[in-house]
């Protein structure tokens, strides 16, 4: 089933709301040089590059060809993968297939976004079908708000239950020097923040950031010579199930793409009890309710039990399964990089490079990507070579 692949280095920018000091390709270079330094490699050691973002945020067509000076892809193969919010993960996954195929030994994956350069909602709206959906669903928030309302009705979860997810992630971000938002936010702060679309308040939702992330993947045999503790890919799973927002609203089913992708990934990784066998999770949670609802879809706890699971501090640092030691999406959201940051942060945990945000003794790490029409990507990394 293809060659074994591991992450041997990661890099990212210090994410900010605005980065007027750099253009997109200059910003990309910061993450790339950081990843090369982390892996102790030079750009000439890289055999191929995979890059992704969401075009309409910077209005640059063909970012692959645009990026060359910054991505280091001069006279190398480079391709662009773009799948909405899931982009960062699908770029990392595409890089994985580059190496697993046997055609490339060391591949650089780059995700980036300069969200400050455009009107984020204006750009996101164009993901909706122009004939049927574009005039009603305005941007990312409404679809998530309807999901949250349904969940609250089904299981009696409260806004405070969800707010705890935000408080947790924003506290975790204080340990991450790269995170965009570095101020704690309490449940009280979130409850007092302005309502955007019931029940989502400003404190419940992710920011938008300027930032880039880069990862270096290497093949079995080379990975071990490059990193002292490579983060091995144990499973990769993608489910971009829906095309129309209306098709994704059977809330009795839960987030189907997340259920399917995670079940497939667990099976591939030989994980029978995720909450026991996973040591850390970096989840793409664009808003607080996701931190309740979707961990049920991931099988980390039973239906309707997430509020208590999170409330009991199982997912805080020091808990049974820490979630988002990096601060997650609620603390940093440079969209084209965001899903890659989940994979990179999971790799950082496995490689033992997490510094103040390191979870002790990580063997298996879970990373998820989310975006598009309720799509999911799942990656499981491990210190154990598969």
């Amino acid at each position: 089933m293809g060659r074994k692949v591991a992450v041997v280095g990661t890099g990212q920018t210090y994410h900010r709301s605005h980065r007027p000091d750099v253009t997109s390709r200059e910003m990309i270079r910061e993450a790339v040089t950081s990843a090369l330094a982390d892996a102790d490699l030079k750009i000439k050691d890289i055999d191929a590059v995979v890059i992704g973002n969401m075009d309409h945020f910077e209005s640059i067509n063909y970012v692959d060809t645009y990026s060359i000076e910054g991505s280091g892809a001069f006279m190398k193969p480079i391709m662009k993968v773009s799948t909405g919010g899931t982009t960062g993960a699908t770029v990392a996954i595409a890089a994985y297939y580059h190496v697993a195929s046997g055609l490339f030994d060391r591949v650089l994956a780059v995700g980036f976004e300069k969200n400050s350069e455009s009107d984020t909602t204006g750009a996101i709206i164009t993901c909706s079908d122009p004939i049927w959906d574009r005039f009603s669903y305005s941007g990312a928030i409404p679809s998530l708000a309807t999901e949250a309302t349904a969940y609250m009705e089904q299981y009696g979860a409260t806004q405070e239950d969800a707010a705890l997810v935000g408080e947790r992630d924003r506290n975790h971000a204080l340990n991450n020097p790269y995170a965009h938002l570095q101020r704690p936010l309490t449940v009280k702060d979130i409850m007092a923040s302005p309502m955007l679309a019931y029940p989502i308040k400003l404190g419940d939702i992710c920011p938008r950031s300027d930032g880039a992330c880069a990862m270096i993947l290497a093949a079995d045999g080379i990975a071990q010579k490059t990193a002292s503790r490579p983060a091995w890919f144990k499973a990769v799973s993608v489910r971009h199930t829906y095309t129309w927002f209306g098709d994704s609203t059977d809330y009795n089913k839960g987030l189907v793409s997340m259920q399917q992708a995670s079940q497939e990934a667990y099976a591939r990784a030989g994980i029978r009890s995720p909450v026991d066998e996973l040591d850390v999770a970096e989840l793409y949670l664009p808003y607080t309710w996701a931190g309740l609802k979707w961990i049920e879809d991931l099988g980390l706890c039973g239906r309707g039990e997430a509020a208590r699971f999170v409330g009991d501090k199982n997912t805080h640092m020091g808990g049974k399964l820490p979630i988002n030691p990096s601060g997650g999406v609620i603390s940093t959201n440079c969209i084209g990089a965001t899903a890659m940051l989940r994979v990179a942060e999971a790799a950082i945990q496995v490689m033992g490079k997490g510094g103040k945000r390191q979870v002790p003794e990580v063997k298996n790490a879970l990373a998820t990507g989310f975006g598009g029409c309720f799509w999911t990507d799942v990656v499981i990394l491990s210190s154990e070579r598969p």
Partner: protein
């Protein structure tokens, strides 16, 4: 390489405007047709790669519009934002990584957007965007640089247009099949010197799909499997002034790697037919040089001598090429599909005799900044 083969192909007819079909309709048509061609069902497909571009489609997450039409439900589906040759490359890598069969589907509707705005979007926002440059004027600069370096003439480029539009008469999918002369090209409307109307590709709508499978599925496929011998891509500098537009270095490097993988030492002798992406007439001789079919500067001579005509030693673009139909992104995949049909012996009136090894090429970025080269063959 010989570990993966192309087992199914399909194309829509290419037209100026498919007003009764949305993207998903075109994608569904070619997905079904490619499956039929391969003798497979959607359940045999375990991985999907779509090719689309958010600018061209006027839609962020453009892949979202066609996911279910490409059979992506419950499967690993991703979108390559680039020419179909690159998308097919990702599909190939998935098969080499263990998937059994990947379908790669590309779509584009030139009729639904403004190609000058969308290709102007390729250019650097700070230094070039507001000069108003786009794909055509950039290509004209490349044509000028190329002509100037080797003393080539507009008539020499016109011969490509005559040949390819004429070849298209044999291709039921082509949009602009016409019998024209060099004089017709020379008299056609000036666009951007030295390019005239007939030196330029048309605006097209269309979709295409290809199925790449592992050896096991290839062995039981309905049609003769077409083996993937070598494939590579490469990208050079971005800002136009940083490049020598008359020297396609990225193409040469991609070709070198692809030939090495395929064990080809003398391309002119060992390749039986080539389908290359000549969005503008001058690109055909320029790409022939980059592909090593002749020395630099001699591409036009090769064409002038008839080497690349239907009866020549190396027929180029029997399908009519991109000059006859250029749905961007799809056009590269169409080259690979046409090359596949040639190897299979299914190219009908445009069939070249005794094809065993074929070459296909596509590109991304202004003036062919990034190229992908495929070598395919009938024998393992």
């Amino acid at each position: 390489m010989d570990k993966a083969a192309i087992v199914g192909v399909a194309q829509t007819r290419y037209e100026r405007r498919k007003k009764d079909q949305i993207f998903a309709d075109m994608v569904f048509d070619v997905t079904r047709a490619a499956l039929d061609d391969a003798g497979l069902t959607i359940n045999d497909i375990d991985s999907v790669v779509t090719c689309s571009n958010d600018f061209y489609d006027g839609r962020t997450i453009s892949g979202m519009a066609v996911g279910d039409a490409a059979g992506g439900m419950d499967k690993n589906i991703s979108t390559v934002s680039g020419d179909g040759t690159f998308g097919a490359f990702y599909g190939l890598m998935r098969v080499l990584s263990g998937y059994k069969a990947t379908i790669v589907v590309a779509h584009y509707k030139g009729s639904e957007g403004d190609v000058k705005i969308t290709t102007n979007g390729m250019f650097d926002p700070i230094f070039h965007r507001f000069l108003g440059i786009e794909a055509i004027s950039a290509a004209a600069l490349q044509a000028n640089a190329y002509m100037n370096l080797y003393g080539l003439t507009e008539e020499q480029f016109a011969e490509v247009s005559v040949k390819n539009h004429g070849n298209a008469l044999n291709n039921p999918y082509a949009q602009l099949a016409m019998k024209i002369t060099v004089a017709d090209v020379m008299n056609s409307k000036k666009i951007a010197d030295p390019l005239k109307l007939f030196d330029c590709c048309p605006i097209s709508d269309g979709a295409a799909a290809i199925i790449i499978a592992d050896e096991e599925i290839a062995a039981r496929s309905k049609k003769k499997p077409v083996w993937i011998k070598g494939v590579a891509h490469c990208c050079e500098s971005y800002l136009l002034g940083d490049r020598d537009l008359a020297k396609p270095v990225a193409l040469s490097e991609a070709a070198r790697k692809a030939y090495a993988m395929a064990g080809i030492k003398n391309p002119l002798r060992e390749i039986d037919v080539a389908e290359i992406l000549e969005a503008f007439s001058y690109m055909e001789p320029l790409w022939l040089e980059g592909l090593g079919f002749c020395k630099p500067g001699e591409g036009a001579t090769l064409i002038g001598k008839g080497v690349t005509g239907m009866g020549g030693k190396l027929p180029v673009n029997p399908s009519g090429g991109a000059l006859s139909a250029n749905p961007i992104l799809v056009a590269g995949l169409a080259r690979l599909i046409e090359a596949t049909l040639q190897v299979r012996g299914e190219a009908g009136a445009r069939q070249v005799d005794k094809v065993n090894t074929a070459l296909a090429q596509g590109f991304n970025g202004p003036c062919g900044q990034s190229h992908c080269v495929w070598i395919i063959g009938g024998k393992k």
